[in-house]
């Protein structure tokens, strides 16, 4: 079945009437995210994202593998997401639903195809071995806006992750364990995030970060993916009723502001985690760069 129980007509009307009066069920403004909380686990690349009542865990892992034949210089990066009955009783274990295909596709487009992770830096030995980076998204609670939450999780995970150091000696690849050599951070080229909008009332009302009920009551969704510099790397109007072109123009500005804000939250969380980890001064010792005197 893989479908949430539909809203009752009364519930739908209630949400819509409230929105017409510029009121949302949880009292947020139309262009406001739910409170976002990020926490990192003990391992590198283990992120827990809590966006309102939607929560998920992202785990990043690295493995040495053979690169694809047609791209011998490139490493491999995959985003794997499987919706299980844990996130929502409506999802069936081991069966792919429409939502899963859709969200995986958007994540692929926003993060992978925009080259957020520089795959060339994952090459160890041309055509022989490279790193395979895998991002696993585990949805633990689903209350709308899966796309933005997973996007935040994967990007935070990639920035938090450290891969083991590997060197090539006489044509042999040696991988050093995490305790033998200081693990290396991944090469992130830019930090794209997605911002999802939902429209109501023939496209007249547009809200950001819809909850599950708001999603169900909406007519259509618009996803904008962009980075801090304001480069739009993904725009989609996947399904539902038509949306005025002007919405895309005006909401891109809103999206940029939100992306900067969320990236700020991610940076702050990463720094707090780094400070916690480097309590023993290990990170300081391991750093190769010198402090640059500021003239």
């Amino acid at each position: 079945m893989n479908k949430e129980a539909p809203l009752s007509i009364a519930e739908r009307d209630f949400i819509l009437d409230a929105l017409r009066e510029d009121v949302r069920l949880d009292g947020r403004g139309a262009d406001e995210f739910r409170p976002l909380k990020l926490s990192f686990g003990e391992e590198y690349g283990h992120v827990k994202v809590q966006l309102g009542k939607t929560s998920l865990i992202v785990r990043i892992s690295a493995e040495v593998a053979k690169p694809h034949d047609d791209r011998p210089f490139d490493g491999i990066f995959n985003i794997a997401m499987e919706l299980t009955a844990m996130g929502s009783p409506a999802w069936e274990n081991g069966r792919q639903g429409d939502l899963e295909t859709y969200v995986t596709n958007v994540l692929d487009r926003v993060i992978r195809h925009s080259n957020a992770l520089d795959t060339e830096s994952l090459c160890i030995l041309k055509g022989v071995s490279c790193w395979t980076i895998r991002a696993d998204v585990h949805i633990t609670d689903y209350d709308g806006n899966l796309i933005d939450a997973s996007c935040i999780g994967v990007m935070a995970g990639l920035q938090h992750f450290r891969r083991p150091d590997a060197v090539v000696k006489d044509g042999q690849v040696i991988v050093y364990g995490l305790d033998e050599r200081v693990p290396a951070p991944l090469n992130i080229t830019h930090k794209p995030l997605s911002v999802t909008f939902h429209t109501f009332d023939e496209g007249k009302l547009v809200i950001l970060d819809a909850t599950r009920k708001e999603e169900q009551a909406s007519e259509a969704d618009v996803v904008i993916g962009m980075n801090n510099a304001g480069d739009v790397c993904y725009v989609s109007k996947f399904q539902g009723s038509p949306v005025d072109a002007l919405v895309f123009v005006t909401k891109t500005t809103v999206a940029l502001e939100k992306v900067k804000h969320v990236n700020g939250i991610i940076d702050k969380a990463l720094q707090a985690d780094l400070a916690k980890r480097s309590k023993g001064g290990l990170a300081e010792q391991a750093r190769a760069e010198n402090d640059r005197p500021v003239a």
Partner: protein
């Protein structure tokens, strides 16, 4: 070594959930239970007089495979003996148990799932309790590794697992009966007997059976018995849930 850390009902959507962390093996499992639930896709497979139990194990950093299907089978049989699937409202419905490995070492391709099995069992039990699924007994389980010198290690680390000659997972009901035994490697009957004694002590302490069939538990050299940890977790949770009532009294 500290005991395992368990939290009841950390999730919002699922009917029942539990998170379980075992410090010695480093595994961290998140489990959810949805029950009783309609399983529309399997109308012909549903049993008319009892609940269909479905277990899904989701590895942390790899796609699911044969190993997961195998351990799901073990869990389904063990839990099937504990869940009272004939209670009112359960026949023709499903009990869906989802276990995600959210922390710790992943089981590699072809790797043994035995070191993770007790954590999976405990998580499933706690999640079932949190979902108020009727159970005949609760269970506790442990994993023991025997090395070539015949030493028995409780809840071995990944390194100890690779050097072990045999691995044993034993699960006991709250009444002290052996519910599940999975062994791997070569061992003798005498070794297994030793393992059994040790496992019983770990799960139940120095078990002294009372005349009414209840098990009196005491702390031994093994620390707090695992069965007690399951009890304590539930007790703590109930204490918090009914704080309003206790305060009022």
């Amino acid at each position: 070594m500290g005991g395992p850390i368990a939290v009841l009902h950390p999730l919002d959507r699922a009917d029942g959930s539990a998170s379980y962390k075992c410090p010695s093996t480093g595994s961290n499992i998140l489990g959810s239970v949805n029950a009783p639930i309609e399983l529309p896709g399997r109308r012909d497979a549903l049993k008319p007089e009892e609940a269909t139990i479905e277990v899904f194990v989701k590895p942390g950093t790899a796609p699911g495979g044969v190993g997961e299907r195998y351990v799901e089978g073990i869990l389904r049989t063990a839990l099937g003996r504990v869940i009272l699937g004939r209670e009112k409202g359960y026949p023709r419905r499903g009990v869906v148990i989802t276990l995600a490995i959210v922390g710790g070492e992943s089981v590699g391709r072809g790797g043994s799932y035995l070191p993770l099995l007790p954590a999976l069992l405990h998580t499933a039990t706690l999640a079932l309790l949190s979902a108020s699924v009727p159970l005949s007994v609760t269970l506790s389980a442990t994993v023991l590794a025997v090395n070539s010198a015949g030493e028995i290690t409780r809840e071995p680390s990944a390194k100890e697992v690779t050097t072990a000659t045999s691995l044993h997972v034993l699960a006991f009901t709250s009444k002290g009966h052996l519910l599940l035994n999975e062994s791997e490697g070569t061992f003798t009957f005498d070794t297994w007997d030793d393992v059994y004694e040790r496992a019983l002590a770990i799960c139940h302490g120095s078990s002294t059976f009372g005349s009414d069939g209840d098990v009196a538990m005491a702390e031994t050299t093994e620390g707090q018995p695992l069965d007690g940890i399951v009890r304590d977790t539930v007790e703590d949770h109930i204490h918090r849930d009914y704080a309003w009532k206790i305060d009022a009294a």
